[in-house]
C-alpha cells in the first residue's frame, strides 16, 4: 500500500529498506521498554510517594521553564529573524549551542555562572539569593537546554511567514509594537506553540544539567529523569514503569507539537 501511494512521487524502491530499518531502530527499544513493564504492579509503582513527587516537580518546573523560554526566546527569535547586524551568524550559533552541548557541560556552565563561587554567585549571595539545590536551579537548567528548541522553530516560522503583512500594517500607520502584537505574533502562533511544546518536552526529559547544577532531593530537585536514574539501581521495575510514563508524556507532547506545525501549512 505504501509503495503504491509513493510511486507517483518517483521515490526509488530501495529507499524503503533503510527507512524501515531506521524506524525499527527507533521503535524497537520503545517496544522493549513496554515489554519489560511489570503491569501487575504498574499503578503502585508510578503512584509511590517519590514517583508522584518527581512527576509533579517535573511538570511544574517544565511549565515554568517553558514560560521563561517563551518570554526570553520569542524576542530572541524575532531579533534573529528580522534584523541584520554584524556577528549575527556567530550569535545565532552560540544561542543554539545548548542543542548540541552535552547537558553535563551545560550544568557545569550554569554552576560556574550562578553557583556560590560562580561569576554571578557572589552578587546573588549578597542579595540573599541562594540558587544551588533549589527548584529554581532545576528550572534554570531546563530553560538553558530547552530555549534553543523554541528559538529555532520560531525563527524558522518567522522567516517562512515573511514580512509582507508587517510592511502593509506599518504603511497603514501601525507602530512597531502594534505590528508585533497584532500581525507578527498571530501569524507565527502555530510555530510558537509547537516550539513551546517542544521546549516543554525537552525540559521534561532534562537530566544531565539538572543533576550537575541542582542536585537531587525528593520534592525539591528530584525530577522524573533523576528518579528513574536512581531507581534503575535498586528497583528496575519502578524505573521501567516511570520510564514508560515519561515516554507516553513525551509522545503526547510531540504529537501536540506536530499538530501545531501542521496547521501552519
Amino acid at each position: 500500500m505504501v509503495t503504491a501511494r509513493a510511486r507517483p512521487t518517483g521515490l526509488p524502491g530501495w529507499v524503503f529498506v533503510p527507512a524501515a530499518l531506521g524506524a525499527v531502530f527507533v521503535l524497537l527499544p520503545l517496544v522493549a521498554i513496554v515489554a519489560r513493564v511489570d503491569w501487575a504492579n504498574f499503578v503502585p509503582l508510578i503512584t509511590s510517594d517519590s514517583s508522584r513527587a518527581a512527576l509533579w516537580l517535573s511538570l511544574r518546573t517544565s511549565a515554568v521553564s517553558t514560560v521563561l523560554c517563551v518570554l526570553l526566546g520569542v524576542p530572541m527569535a524575532v531579533v534573529l529573524a528580522r534584523t541584520e547586524f554584524r556577528g549575527q551568524g556567530v550569535l545565532r550559533s552560540l544561542v543554539l549551542l545548548p542543542l548540541v552541548l552535552p547537558p553535563v557541560v551545560g550544568g557545569l556552565a550554569l554552576l560556574y555562572t550562578f553557583g556560590r563561587r560562580g561569576l554571578l554567585g557572589e552578587t546573588f549571595s549578597a542579595w540573599g539569593i541562594e540558587i544551588a539545590f533549589s527548584s529554581t536551579a532545576v528550572v534554570m537548567a531546563q530553560t538553558f537546554v530547552s530555549m534553543p528548541f523554541l528559538v529555532v522553530s520560531l525563527e524558522g516560522a518567522l522567516r517562512t511567514a515573511g514580512q509582507r503583512y508587517e510592511v502593509v500594517a506599518a504603511t497603514l500607520g501601525a507602530g512597531p509594537s502594534t505590528v508585533f502584537r497584532r500581525v507578527t505574533l498571530p501569524l507565527v502562533l502555530p510555530g510558537l506553540l509547537s516550539g513551546a511544546v517542544l521546549a516543554f518536552a525537552r525540559a521534561l526529559g532534562e537530566f544531565g544539567a539538572t543533576v550537575t547544577f541542582a542536585g537531587s532531593l525528593q520534592g525539591t530537585t528530584q525530577t522524573l529523569p533523576s528518579l528513574i536514574y536512581q531507581e534503575r539501581v535498586t528497583d528496575p521495575d519502578a524505573a521501567v514503569a516511570l520510564a514508560l510514563v515519561l515516554v507516553v508524556v513525551a509522545v503526547v507532547v510531540i504529537g501536540l507539537a506536530r499538530q501545531g506545525r501542521g496547521s501552519t501549512r
Binding site: 553557583g115 556560590r116 563561587r117 544551588a132 539545590f133 542536585g215 537531587s216 533523576s226 536512581q230 535498586t234
Partner: protein, 250 residues
C-alpha cells in the same frame, strides 16, 4: 543506485565486523570493577600486562550495580570487583561465579569539605546543623547505605540538601563549593587531592565497606583471570590499594 545502497550498508556493518575479528592476536582479559577502583585497578592492570606478554587488560569501570546488571545480561566479563558485598551476592545468587569471592580491601567514610572548611565542620554531629549545606549519596547506592548506617548508629538525623547518585557527584558539589560538606570514602578524599579537605570521624570505623573480587563462570580465560585476582590479593596489588587509602580486608 543499488551500489550506493550496498556501500552504505558496508559502511554501517564495517565497524561491527571489525570488532568481531579483533581478537586474532593476543588475549584480552575483561575486568569489570567498581568506579571507586579506577585509579588503583589501572595501575594493577599495567603491572599485569607487563608480567604477561600479549595480554591486554580491558577495564570497565562503573557503579557496582550497573556492572552486575551487565554481567547478568551476559556481558563478556572475566573478573568482577564489587564495591560492596550486596552486589557480589547478586552474582553468587545467580551462580555466575567460578569459585568463592575473596575480600580484598575495605573503605570507610570520611567527611569532605571545601578547602578552608568554610562551615567549620569538626565532626559527624556538626553535619546535622541547619547552617551546614550537606550533600550525601542516596541510600540506594553503597556510599549512601553506609551514610545511613552511621546516622542510625549515632542517632544523628541528617538533612542533606541533595542526595546524589554517586560519590563522584557528592565530591563535585563539594569541590565546586556549592556544598559545605559531603560524605564520601577516604579513598575519594585522597584522590581529590588539594581540591578538598578530609575530616576523619570515629563513628565511621563501625561502618566498614568491604570490596570482594571473583572470577566469573563464563570466563574463557579462567586461569589468567585467577592470576589477575591473585595479583590484586598479592603484595603488589595490596600496595597500590594501600597507597590510595584502602585498608586491607580483615
Amino acid at each position: 543506485m543499488r551500489r550506493t545502497a550496498l556501500l552504505a550498508a558496508a559502511f554501517l556493518l564495517a565497524p561491527a565486523l571489525a570488532a568481531c575479528g579483533g581478537d586474532d592476536e593476543g588475549t584480552t582479559l575483561n575486568v569489570y570493577a567498581a568506579a571507586s577502583l579506577t585509579a588503583t585497578f589501572e595501575e594493577v592492570a599495567e603491572v599485569f600486562e607487563q608480567e604477561h606478554d600479549g595480554v591486554d587488560v580491558e577495564l570497565n569501570f562503573s557503579g557496582s550495580s550497573d556492572l552486575v546488571t551487565a554481567i547478568q545480561e551476559g556481558a563478556d566479563a572475566d573478573v568482577f570487583a564489587s564495591a560492596d558485598l550486596p552486589n557480589m551476592d547478586k552474582i553468587t545468587t545467580d551462580g555466575l561465579e567460578a569459585g568463592d569471592p575473596v575480600d580484598f580491601a575495605t573503605n570507610t567514610l570520611q567527611i569532605v569539605v571545601p578547602p578552608g572548611n568554610p562551615a567549620g565542620v569538626t565532626g559527624f554531629a556538626d553535619l546535622a546543623g541547619a547552617d551546614v549545606k550537606l550533600v550525601v549519596c542516596a541510600p540506594e547506592v553503597p556510599c549512601g547505605a553506609a551514610t545511613q548506617k552511621v546516622s542510625e548508629n549515632t542517632g544523628i538525623t541528617l538533612s542533606p540538601v541533595s542526595e546524589e547518585q554517586s560519590v563522584t557527584d557528592v565530591l563535585g558539589k563539594v569541590t565546586s563549593g556549592e556544598a559545605d560538606a559531603g560524605l564520601v570514602y577516604v579513598t575519594d578524599v585522597i584522590a581529590a587531592g588539594e581540591a578538598v579537605e578530609g575530616i576523619e570521624f570515629p563513628e565511621a570505623a563501625e561502618v566498614v565497606n568491604t570490596y570482594p573480587i571473583v572470577v566469573l563462570a563464563d570466563s574463557e580465560e579462567g586461569d589468567l583471570a585467577q592470576e589477575f585476582v591473585d595479583l590484586v590479593l598479592g603484595e603488589a596489588g595490596q600496595g597500590v590499594l594501600g597507597d590510595a587509602g584502602f585498608a586491607p580486608a580483615p
